[in-house]
């Protein structure tokens, strides 16, 4: 059996049982810096093997996907879920953006099954990070007080946030250095990747369980949303993947990206751009429900859906 979900479960159960196990804050930071850089480097290295120009149409359609998802999520949350505009918009933004770790788990899922996928997919990961957040903020500010948004500070927060710099920077370095330039970095950035990912998932389990009590107050609607929305987005992502000619593996990754909800970049940006939103709601949805759902059930489920789509 694959070890990754087991590490998540260990953390989750340990925290629920109120163990004193704790991942020190700076170790958490270190692990996430490592994961972001490593994913970026790997993607950039593969990009160096591609005709980058040929990817532009694909890239644009992927960015459009990131913008559309929150536009669909917002009315559902606001009208159906009766959440106020700020909370509906903030949550929608989280689901428009992506989760790097969910991506890594899906990539590992494919590797373990020896399923091929387009190795430049980390590029899409980078491209999908921002549009959803931007649309979420626009939705929150609709209705006149646009001027009160400090767009400069905000653009800054989004484009120069830690995860964009590390993913994007890694991508660029990987692209410029190419496979030979990166070869001496392999033992560190590639061979250790899965081990580090496991440690990170242990921490994610601890964090998710520590936020679990908020479930009681966040309402049933949000819990349902946090499961139905990813399935819907994954379907959207699968269809787009097929349309732009990705392989079944690449399509699964795109579907997983669409299904995943951000819990690093989006919370940081929303806290500054939409302070009226209660961060507890979006975190609970994204981290306590959607994240475990995706890594435990979602990925195999989307794989099944894509299998049907690809008629295999």
């Amino acid at each position: 059996m694959d070890a990754i979900p087991l590490f998540f479960l260990l953390g989750f159960v340990a925290r629920l049982a109120r163990s004193d196990l704790k991942i020190p804050g700076q170790l958490y930071e270190a692990l996430s810096i490592y994961l972001l850089l490593a994913i970026g480097l790997k993607g950039g290295m593969e990009l160096a093997r591609q005709d980058a120009l040929a990817l532009i149409p694909q890239a644009l359609s992927v960015m459009a996907l990131g913008a559309i998802i929150p536009l669909i999520a917002f009315p559902v949350l606001h009208k159906l879920g009766k959440l106020d505009r700020f909370n509906a918009a903030a949550i929608a933004g989280h689901y428009g953006s992506v989760s790097v770790v969910t991506y890594a788990v899906a990539a590992d899922y494919l590797i373990a099954r020896s399923t091929e996928f387009e190795a430049y997919l980390p590029l899409f990961l980078v491209l999908l990070e921002m549009p959803g957040i931007a649309v979420g903020i626009l939705l929150a500010r609709m209705g006149g007080d646009f001027r009160s948004v400090r767009w400069g500070a905000l653009g800054h927060e989004i484009f120069l946030g830690k995860s964009m710099v590390l993913l994007g920077g890694g991508l660029l370095i990987g692209w410029v250095a190419g496979p030979t330039g990166l070869a001496p970095l392999e033992p560190f950035f590639f061979d250790l990747f899965k081990g580090v990912l496991c440690l990170f998932l242990l921490e994610m389990g601890l964090v998710a369980a520590s936020q679990a009590p908020a479930l009681r107050t966040s309402g049933v609607f949000l819990a349902v949303f946090a499961i139905v929305m990813p399935i819907f987005s994954a379907t959207l992502g699968s269809v787009l993947g097929m349309m732009i000619g990705l392989s079944a593996g690449g399509t699964l990754l795109l579907a997983t990206l669409a299904a995943s909800a951000s819990y690093i970049a989006a919370p940081a940006a929303m806290r500054i751009a939409v302070p009226e939103a209660n961060p507890g709601l979006s975190i609970t949805a994204a981290l306590v429900i959607t994240f475990p759902f995706n890594i435990l059930i979602g990925i195999p489920l989307y794989d099944r859906i894509i299998g049907l789509l690809f008629g295999s």
Partner: protein, 105 residues
């Protein structure tokens, strides 16, 4: 024996997300400096364990004269208290070189 001069100490405990913007505000409002430490805690917004990014809190302390202290307290009350996990308090302390902490124009 050396004498100390009265001075205000403003302490703010808040979500780490607003550290940079608090620091900017405090300097703009006339302070000459500030000191920040990483903390964790509990309050009306629940337990904040500093386990991960959005869960971190900071404690900022600012030595300043009464004018600045009032300005800071007013400002944070208006701009941050409603939407952020945050508290603030003020106390009286004595400093050696009072000029260093007087309102900056």
């Amino acid at each position: 024996m050396r004498e100390t001069h009265p001075c205000k100490l403003v302490v703010m405990i808040a979500e780490a997300a607003i550290e940079d913007s608090l620091a900017r505000d405090v300097m703009r409002l006339g302070a000459h400096g500030y000191t920040v430490a990483d903390v964790r805690g509990q309050g009306s917004h629940g337990v904040r364990r500093a386990l991960w990014g959005a869960d971190r809190s900071i404690r900022m302390e600012v030595l300043c004269d009464e004018l600045t202290s009032n300005a800071i307290v007013d400002h944070v009350e208006k701009h941050y208290f409603d939407h952020y996990a945050m508290i603030a308090y003020v106390s009286d302390v004595g400093v050696l070189r009072p000029g260093k902490f007087q309102h900056k124009d």
